[in-house]
């Protein structure tokens, strides 16, 4: 009976439409975060170039990756620094 009343006066708490909307939002965030290895490599090289202006880094041990969370995406870089460059 309660269900009948609910459907009469405007549906349940989370409708399948809401579920679809939430699932889509999450899946698109993940889709957008998928960049090709080629682009990732360009990004890595650009980061090395910029950082190398200020410090000497260990290129072989550095890691750059996109990390997917439930509902967000982060670019995480771990760059070992060997030495600072000194400016005068």
């Amino acid at each position: 009976m309660l269900n009948i009343l609910k459907s009469l006066f405007g549906g349940e708490k989370q409708s399948s439409r809401d579920i679809a909307r939430d699932r889509l939002k999450v899946v698109l965030i993940h889709d957008h975060a998928n960049i090709t290895p080629e682009v990732m490599e360009h990004l890595r090289e650009d980061i090395i170039q910029v950082i190398s202006k200020y410090m000497i880094i260990d290129k072989n041990d550095m890691q750059v990756a996109l990390e997917n969370d439930e509902n967000s995406v982060a670019l995480v870089a771990n760059i070992p620094v060997r030495k600072m460059k000194h400016f005068r």
Binding site: I4, E12, S15, S16
Partner: protein, 262 residues
């Protein structure tokens, strides 16, 4: 100023060809000169929706390979004399035409026709890249279903990569009763998720099926809901401000009946 419009979707079966046929006929009904190009090589269908399947002599590949001038391959519509179809090849494959050839052809057509509308194949491979190459505007057709929306998002990304910035969305096959019940995404939901402005929403309408059976796009009779929706889209393409249609709501008694399973 003539315009080249590509109708695309990513996912198959969402109504690209139906949309192309209706917009083409709608523009011709307003007196515009229109060429519809079917680029779904190997899977010819636009001719059927327009009722022109028995009039085809040459196809797009004959034109791009230089066997006949395009004027010879164009099929004039029986009823709307400013509407022409350039059919696709039923025997060749999708690599038979390349983007450069289609750009050259569209530039020729621009000189003589108001609108050139390209029906794109499903998918994001070569055929898609060819179809979008010459377009000024892209109409992305989608459906209120998660897989279709995801594919539309992918297509929008691909269009962006090809520097196509003028993108408009059409949400096809909406079932208003299901939306009302909270069981289907509506235009605003999809708009919100894809962040692309909408140029039309078309209800799921049995009249589309009967129109297809007869080879006369649903916009011709104009009395059906889908026909009105397409008429509105055509108006918006021509630059008119037309409010989005309200779908008829299910009344209280219909809801009551449904709730009690009647």
């Amino acid at each position: 100023m003539s315009q080249v419009i590509v109708v695309t979707s990513g996912k198959g079966g969402v109504g690209k060809t139906t949309t192309t046929a209706n917009i083409g006929v709608g523009l011709a009904m307003r007196g515009k000169s229109v060429v519809l190009i079917d680029t779904d090589t190997g899977l010819r269908n636009l001719d059927l929706l327009l009722g022109l399947e028995n009039r085809i002599m040459y196809d797009l590949v004959d034109v791009t390979e230089g066997r006949v001038p395009y004027k010879k391959a164009l099929v004039r519509h029986k009823k709307f004399e400013t509407l022409f179809l350039l059919p696709t090849s039923q025997v060749k494959d999708k690599s038979s035409i390349n983007p450069a050839q289609l750009i050259v052809l569209c530039n020729e057509l621009r000189k003589e026709y108001d609108y050139i509308i390209i029906d794109c194949p499903a998918g994001i491979e070569q055929g898609f890249q060819t179809a979008i190459a010459a377009a000024d505007t892209a109409l992305v057709v989608t459906m209120p279903e998660i897989s279709a929306v995801r594919d539309a998002d992918k297509i929008i990304g691909e269009l962006g990569r090809a520097d196509k910035d003028n993108i408009k969305l059409i949400v096809n096959r909406i079932r208003p009763q299901m939306v009302e019940k909270g069981d289907m995404l509506d235009m605003n939901d999809i708009n919100d998720i894809l962040s692309i402005s909408c140029i039309g929403q078309v209800p799921d309408d049995e009249m589309v099926v009967t129109a297809t059976n007869k080879g006369e796009p649903v916009i011709v009779s104009g009395s059906s809901l889908a026909g009105k929706a397409y008429t509105n889209i055509v108006g918006r393409i021509c630059g008119e401000e037309i409010p989005f249609m309200e779908f008829p709501k299910e009344g209280f008694f219909a809801r009551l009946k449904r709730a009690f399973g009647m």
